[in-house]
């Protein structure tokens, strides 16, 4: 199967959002060009790090890595000055660049670390390794995961935590008539809320499907209205109230396959005459009050009868 590689994983998205500054090790250790390779060996050992930028009065002039040090050891050049042995063509990154840039650079150059500069002053403000990137991404993923978990946890215990003989939560959604771009959005948001509130999958599915049909009816046939959802433990009640033309023949409207929707609605995949029958089959109770010229009040319940 052809795979779309234009970036869709969560990791890729994060690597784009995060900046080099988020992942780098700040307060970087530097060494001067006049120090000896021996000084460097001691500093690397003390700090337990694998490379250092070489700075001359805060200005970056080169890099010394552990590989450079090993080469010097083999040549017996511990006494030589850093400026003779350092890598001069240093690849750098700016602190405000996206983390993806750093990943690309590591892939392209094969280097183990890059000094990070502040764009304005050109000063070294940090150093970044592949390990830093991995740690940063993992940390961010964990935070995101915890936040969603915490949200879910918080809300799913809402009813347990409220001290009352009974409690109910009311969610209101305004629906614009004729606005097909947002049609379906309220039911989608309702479903997410019911998920967070810890409702059984089948129950939240039935409630969301019925709400979607009610929302679509409002968008197609009326100038607008409101969905009022009353949530209680184990029971979801939806009232869909609109200021539309009303339903002339309720019995006919309840018949599967009957629809008075215009062609443009059918072209959008609706108006198949399944709306009201579907709401009925998804709900445990349903009542419909309608007055021609005034509007319609549809009420349905998902959950045991009261």
């Amino acid at each position: 199967m052809a795979r779309d590689d234009r970036g869709f994983t969560k990791i890729q998205e994060l690597a784009y959002e995060l900046r080099v500054a988020d992942a780098m090790t700040a307060a970087v250790e530097t060494i001067g060009p006049e120090n000896t390779v021996g000084d460097l060996a001691q500093r690397l050992r003390e700090m337990k790090i694998s490379g250092m930028p070489v700075c001359d009065k805060e200005k970056l002039v080169g890099m010394m890595s552990i590989e450079d040090l090993i080469n010097c050891l083999m040549e017996g050049e511990l006494g030589r000055k850093i400026r003779h042995k350092m890598t001069r063509d240093v690849v750098t990154l700016y602190a405000d660049e996206p983390l993806t840039r750093a990943v690309e650079r590591f892939e392209k150059t094969g280097f183990g670390r890059f000094p990070v500069l502040e764009r304005k002053s050109g000063k070294v403000v940090g150093i970044i390794t592949k390990g830093d990137i991995v740690r940063c991404l993992l940390r961010k993923l964990e935070i995101d995961y915890r936040e969603e978990e915490a949200r879910r946890h918080r809300v799913s215990h809402l009813f347990d935590d409220l001290e009352a003989d009974s409690s109910r939560l009311v969610l209101r959604y305004r629906v614009e008539g004729g606005d097909f771009t947002t049609a379906g959005q309220r039911s989608s948001r309702l479903k997410r809320n019911l998920t967070r509130l810890g409702f059984h999958p089948e129950m939240r599915r039935r409630a969301a499907i019925a709400a979607y049909e009610a929302e679509m009816n409002m968008v197609i046939f009326t100038p607008g209205g409101e969905l009022e959802v009353c949530v209680e433990p184990g029971r979801i009640t939806v009232e869909a109230v609109d200021r539309g033309p009303g339903i002339a023949d309720v019995e006919l409207a309840m018949k599967p396959g009957y629809s008075s929707a215009p062609d443009w609605v059918r072209e959008l995949g609706f108006g198949a005459g399944m709306g009201l029958p579907n709401i009925k089959s998804c709900s445990d109770e349903m009542t419909l009050e309608t007055r021609p010229g005034e509007g319609t009040r549809l009420r349905f319940v998902v959950g045991p009868r009261s």
Binding site: M1, R3, D4, A183, S188, E213, F270, M274
Partner: protein, 158 residues
């Protein structure tokens, strides 16, 4: 000739039997992964939703979202020629995790983002609705009507 390397799919197709009264019934449910669907339909992944990629147990080919909401069950693959945000919303409320657009239709921009935010996988296949459904059915993937009937009749293991 359609290649059927997929063990589960071949098994399923092989077990198509004639029932009493002429009704066809597969003796067990075939589950298909997004990757298997991709192979059978030469489909391209538009967005992968959340990893890991889900699998489906039945299919529904439909351009009427109301029908989708009436008949599709969770774990259904939705095949459709309709490319509007309402497809994504309908999929979400009906617990549909995989949607494949037929005849090379490809959702763009906002719609892809919407699907991503809801963890819905989007595919696009060059085949038309009839060919797409036929190919999948041949591999043993069943329709959501059949699955509903089976449950009503009390057949199957459960």
């Amino acid at each position: 000739m359609l290649e059927m390397r997929l063990a589960g799919a071949k098994d399923g197709a092989g077990r198509l039997m004639e029932q009493e009264g002429g009704a066809r019934k597969v003796s067990h449910t075939v589950e298909m992964s997004v990757e298997e669907i991709g192979k059978v339909l030469d489909a391209e992944l538009v967005t992968g939703g959340r990893n890991p990629l889900p699998s489906v147990r039945m299919g529904c080919g439909c351009d009427l979202m109301s029908d989708v909401l009436s008949f599709a069950k969770p774990n259904t693959l939705l095949l459709t020629g309709l490319v509007t945000p309402q497809v994504i919303y309908a999929a979400e409320v009906a617990d549909i995790k995989v949607v494949c657009f037929v005849r090379g239709k490809r959702p763009r921009g906002e719609m892809v983002k919407l699907a991503e935010s809801k963890g819905i996988v989007l595919l696009t296949t060059p085949y038309g609705m009839f060919e797409s459904c036929g190919r999948l059915y041949q591999c043993g993937l069943r329709g959501c009507f059949e699955m509903g009937e089976e449950r009503k009749l009390g057949a199957g293991s459960a």
